[in-house]
Symmetry: C2
Subunit: 305 residues, 2 copies
Amino acid sequence: MNKTQIQDFAKRITGTQSAPANERVKAVVDRMLLDLFVLIEDMDVTPEEFWSACNYVTELGKSNEVGLLVPGLGIEHFLDLRQDEKERAAGMEVGGTPRTIEGPLYVAGAPVSQGEARLDDGTDDGEILLMGGRVLDTRGNPVPGAKVEVWHANTRGNYSVFDQSQSPFNLRRTIVTDCEGCYRFRSVMPSGYSCPPDGPTQTLLTLLGRHGHRPAHIHFFVSAPGFRTLTTQINIKDDPHTHDDFAFATRDGLIPDVVHHTDPAVLRDMGVDRPFATIAFDFTLPHAVEGLTNAVVERARASAA
Amino acid sequence: MNKTQIQDFAKRITGTQSAPANERVKAVVDRMLLDLFVLIEDMDVTPEEFWSACNYVTELGKSNEVGLLVPGLGIEHFLDLRQDEKERAAGMEVGGTPRTIEGPLYVAGAPVSQGEARLDDGTDDGEILLMGGRVLDTRGNPVPGAKVEVWHANTRGNYSVFDQSQSPFNLRRTIVTDCEGCYRFRSVMPSGYSCPPDGPTQTLLTLLGRHGHRPAHIHFFVSAPGFRTLTTQINIKDDPHTHDDFAFATRDGLIPDVVHHTDPAVLRDMGVDRPFATIAFDFTLPHAVEGLTNAVVERARASAA
């Protein structure tokens, strides 16, 4: 079929309306359909290939992996780049900490602490991690009372709530910065992880000749009234996948130094019984801009049962 | 972002290969991704809209409705039109019974009978339907030993196996044509039906200002060695949705006359205790053509547990 025939066919399909539509949804669906018809024709997609793709979509939904495939195909990073561009165009202050993808593993309702928190429940004997810093505006002024929501994987690369073997909200906390804009927490060093090896995301990645590994990282939402909310992650430096993240989340400015402490005297001074690492990291928030979404993106998220 | 920036971004994503890929899958996915990036940019799709669509895909998979949405968006009919075109181009004989969509409700393994069958288990007191005819080649010669696989909904619009209240394989049979190419069956008149009102397919159709109704119809696979296998349906004439099928399956040549018989003398002659209808319908099969898929399309299908 040529382009005109395909357009006529698409019009016939999209013209079968008998009631008012949501015009926005209709416009996007009409466009997607036309794109799909043209793709099927251009690439001569066979019915077998098409139904195999349908089956893939079913498996993707059933296994709850849409939120894993989307970053794996770079789409979530693409949305970030577009949002950066929108903010530049709207004249938002420059110099804020870069955003990066949220991923599918945030869960609302973590315990809230003032100034500092211990994230781990003490059962994970990985390297102790002490992380802290300040929340600042773009002129370097501290932002007291900012909310630092943090979540990360354990040493086996698993997240509480999704991993039922962990205690509820393990490695998930909301820390409110003190009067000097400071936050700090004690936790255990997270590990990198990989897509479930038998899941549909890894199945497709393998067909694309790609791996499904993520470097070790820590997620954050950082928010304060009057500021644009930041969704970001920091990478744990020296992870072999830091610059080869299947989810394309690594960005300049998000790879702070990690200092590993093993000197028994230092350990004794810190009151810990094994080696620990420290990370210093400040978050910088631009002021909110009228007309832009300044909050965390609305999306369906998992919740703690 | 302009087109070049988007293409560069897409290349960066699709270039992250570390092992041999399935080149066909990669080519199609690369194209889909680029189409998607351009669509997001052109239509200024917001992150909220995007994640809402992701959530929709998850729901679609979980509810097993991909196979319902695909015909509802005309995609399955589009594949049929392309297959018609391929057969014309390959020089296949003209004059065969038109193909139309399979839909998602075929189940393999129905009982096989020679020449004739009763499809219903006697518990449905709808109008009795007697249907029959011949399987022919395009010159009108009978095709003995052809397989006529038939499946249809009951008077409530439900299919056995999916509707567990029906006996296994109710209204599903395989009938092998006799030495004169004839098949015939007794069943009950099917009803039209609608998409599940709370499912994701109807949700989207409603947003598009569309209904999700199908006219009453009967499905067939008709096959014989040396012939192209036919996937088709006949419509029950005079259904209000015959020419307004949400799945775009109605085609010329697939709406045979239905004769309703109510005369007590005729009923007595037929040995039935209530009104009945008759449909006469011949299936015409073109000979198979080298280089084309002449069998039923391969796709994942439900099976009887």
